[in-house]
């Protein structure tokens, strides 16, 4: 940990987090805060997915299950048991991580496309289950009363607190990605990503590492899900387990450059900003799918290394500073 303090990248992350936290405060700009909150959410989701995708080389279409389950557990604790927000978030994070650990041992026997398909099955199965699960409101979901924002000083104040918490979760996600990448655990994961059989022969405990990273990559998205749906004051299965959000997180990883910390974060930021723009622009609103599809195709075909691949090859010295 102390060693990390000496790395310039540590301070770059700190700077980014502070910039996120302060930017909307300066002008008391609520609409900027809302847009940055979504950016922070996407960065959190994409960074944690990157632990599986970029490091260990496993395509996980079901990453949004962590987010959705975290949201459900948190909202349920707040609504049915009147728990305060923070303990609910922690329980959501730990609970989902634990589930992922147990589940990881089974599902991670699969490799490559088989694993990818299985994760699609997981997301569909969980969604179908929650739609039938009455304690969580079934398909109608759970509504939180406006009262829940009272302990945080009313809605206007609460939204700021939630924003800062989301930025903190984003910062933790970035540090987690950074810390893992520079650790022995991270090296093991990268070896699995390169060639799993070779890694196993060289003594990397592959199944333990894989299950562990699956579980670790569930923790912060679950908390982000709790925060997000607490803020929404409403959760329903179709929003919580939206397959397209998972796919977006994958796309973001590709755009930025899988396996890199900076690239994925910038990719998430740019993607969400672009999407917000396309969605609300009068010119593109009808063609936003076509535009994002065509852009993605061009990037996959011609810049397979993503943004960071491009930067690394143009400015090789950046590789030393930007992880």
């Amino acid at each position: 940990m102390l060693l990390m303090l000496r790395r310039p990248f540590f301070w770059i992350i700190a700077l980014a987090v502070v910039a996120f936290a302060l930017a909307p405060v300066v002008g008391n700009d609520v609409s900027m805060r809302e847009s940055l909150l979504l950016d922070a959410l996407y960065i959190t989701l994409a960074s944690n997915l990157n632990l599986m995708l970029g490091y260990a080389g496993y395509v996980n279409f079901g990453s949004i299950v962590f987010f959705g389950l975290g949201g459900y557990i948190c909202v349920w604790l707040v609504n049915s048991y009147n728990w305060p927000l923070i303990p609910s978030l922690i329980v959501a994070g730990l609970g989902v991580s634990g589930l992922a650990l147990i589940f990881g041992f089974g599902i991670l026997r699969l490799r490559g496309a088989f694993f990818a398909l299985a994760t699609i099955g997981v997301i569909e199965a969980v969604q179908a289950f929650v739609e039938n699960f009455t304690p969580w409101g079934g398909s109608a979901g759970v509504y939180l009363s406006g009262e829940i924002f009272k302990p945080l000083g009313g809605p206007a104040h609460a939204l700021w607190i939630i924003y800062f918490m989301m930025v903190a979760v984003m910062g933790l996600s970035l540090y987690l990605s950074f810390a893992i990448k520079t650790s022995k655990f991270g090296l093991g994961l990268l070896a699995i990503g390169q060639n799993e059989d070779a890694a196993a022969i060289l003594g990397v405990p592959t199944s333990r590492y894989k299950a562990l990273v699956y579980s670790v990559s569930a923790f912060l998205p679950a908390i982000a899900g709790g925060l997000y749906f607490f803020k929404s004051a409403f959760i329903q299965p179709s929003d919580a387990f939206d397959l397209s959000l998972s796919t977006e997180a994958l796309v973001v990883g590709m755009l930025g450059g899988e396996g890199t910390v900076t690239g994925v974060a910038i990719g998430a930021f740019l993607y969400e900003e672009l999407r917000g723009y396309l969605l609300t622009s009068s010119t593109f609103a009808n063609f936003q799918l076509v535009v994002s599809g065509a852009l993605l195709l061009l990037i996959v075909l011609f810049f397979p290394g993503g943004l960071m691949g491009f930067i690394y090859s143009r400015f090789p010295r950046t590789q030393k500073v930007l992880e």
């Binding site: 995708l53 080389g57 395509v59 089974g106 599902i107 026997r109 699969l110 490559g112 496309a113 088989f114 990818a116 398909l117 299985a118 699609i120 099955g121 997981v122 569909e124 199965a125 179908a128 289950f129 739609e131 039938n132 796919t247 994958l250 796309v251 590709m254 899988e258 009808n286 063609f287 936003q288 799918l289 076509v290 535009v291 994002s292 599809g293 065509a294 993605l296 195709l297 996959v300 075909l301 397979p304």
Partner: protein, 288 residues
């Protein structure tokens, strides 16, 4: 009791059509290890082709199969050159993303042109009645046609020169190249076939149920389930996988609340995948 039997027969009928819908997916996967995420969009393209051919040109619904076969093949070859050619042999994520991107474009164009309105092609054929239960004629004919198309595909792969080349490329691309098979052309033809199959299944499905631009997603998902049940890369297995899925839906529905069917379907999907990563009906490597 009769009700359960009716559900099972219904399951087999619809299952054959699901099997056909998955066949194109599994063919492309078997030949080049690419999961074609435009599959659902191609099924939808078949549905809309049927709609246009019947409503604008006044064609008989089943006469639409031939133009869709030809058109689908050409579209598939184009798809190969646009989004798959550069991805063959690269990590699976790359082709997933490139076909996903094309899928976004197709769905985007489809939504801009047709909206997500429901389209309906009425086919009235005399059905068969069993007690109070009726099997609509269109269902029976679609199932028969699906089986016939599958049989033709099997004969093509087993007994024609081109079909044998496709199997050779699927087994070992380098070796096929060495014995003088033009592998790139074979790959393009395989994608053409895969997409044509998607289009054909789209036509048949559209004679059974109303559809929208977004219907493809559901059938693609079912296609994955069928593929897993039937074994990757095995078109005949896909037909069996389809029947298995249809039977499952038919046999489960009378006993559990309808809304739990999906839960059972996908839990089973994951479990089967973990237990038999190569599929239940897959006999040996290179079954194609």
């Amino acid at each position: 009791m009769l009700g359960i039997l009716a559900s099972i027969i219904d399951g087999v009928l619809v299952g054959l059509v699901y099997g056909l819908a998955a066949m194109g997916l599994t063919l492309i996967w078997g030949v080049m290890d690419v999961i074609n995420l435009t599959h659902g969009a191609m099924i939808v393209a078949g549905m809309f082709a049927l709609f246009l051919l019947t409503s604008v040109l006044g064609l008989n619904p089943y006469a639409a199969l031939l133009p869709v076969l030809v058109g689908g093949f050409l579209v598939g070859v184009a798809l190969y050159w646009i989004s798959i050619h550069r991805m063959v042999g690269r990590p699976p994520l790359m082709s997933l993303l490139s076909t996903f991107a094309v899928n976004l474009v197709l769905i985007g164009v489809g939504t801009a042109v047709w909206g997500t309105a429901l389209f309906n092609v009425n086919v009235s054929l005399p059905g068969i009645t069993m007690g109070r239960y009726t099997f609509p004629g269109a269902h029976i004919l679609a199932a028969v046609l699906a089986a016939v198309i599958a049989a033709l595909l099997y004969l093509f792969l087993q007994h024609t020169r081109l079909g044998k080349s496709v199997r050779a490329v699927a087994n070992n691309r380098e070796a096929a190249e060495l014995v003088g098979i033009p592998t790139t052309r074979v790959l393009a033809i395989s994608v053409g076939l895969g997409v044509a199959l998607a289009g054909l299944s789209g036509v048949l499905i559209a004679t059974l149920f109303p559809f929208t631009v977004l219907s493809g997603d559901g059938y693609q998902l079912k296609g994955f389930v069928v593929t897993v049940l039937g074994g990757f890369g095995n078109p005949v297995g896909a037909l069996l996988g389809g029947i298995a899925l249809g039977l499952l839906e038919g046999a489960v529905t009378p006993f559990v609340p309808v809304s739990w069917t999906l839960v059972i379907e996908f839990v089973l999907f994951v479990l089967v995948l973990i237990a038999f990563p190569a599929g239940i009906f897959r006999s040996r490597r290179g079954a194609l």
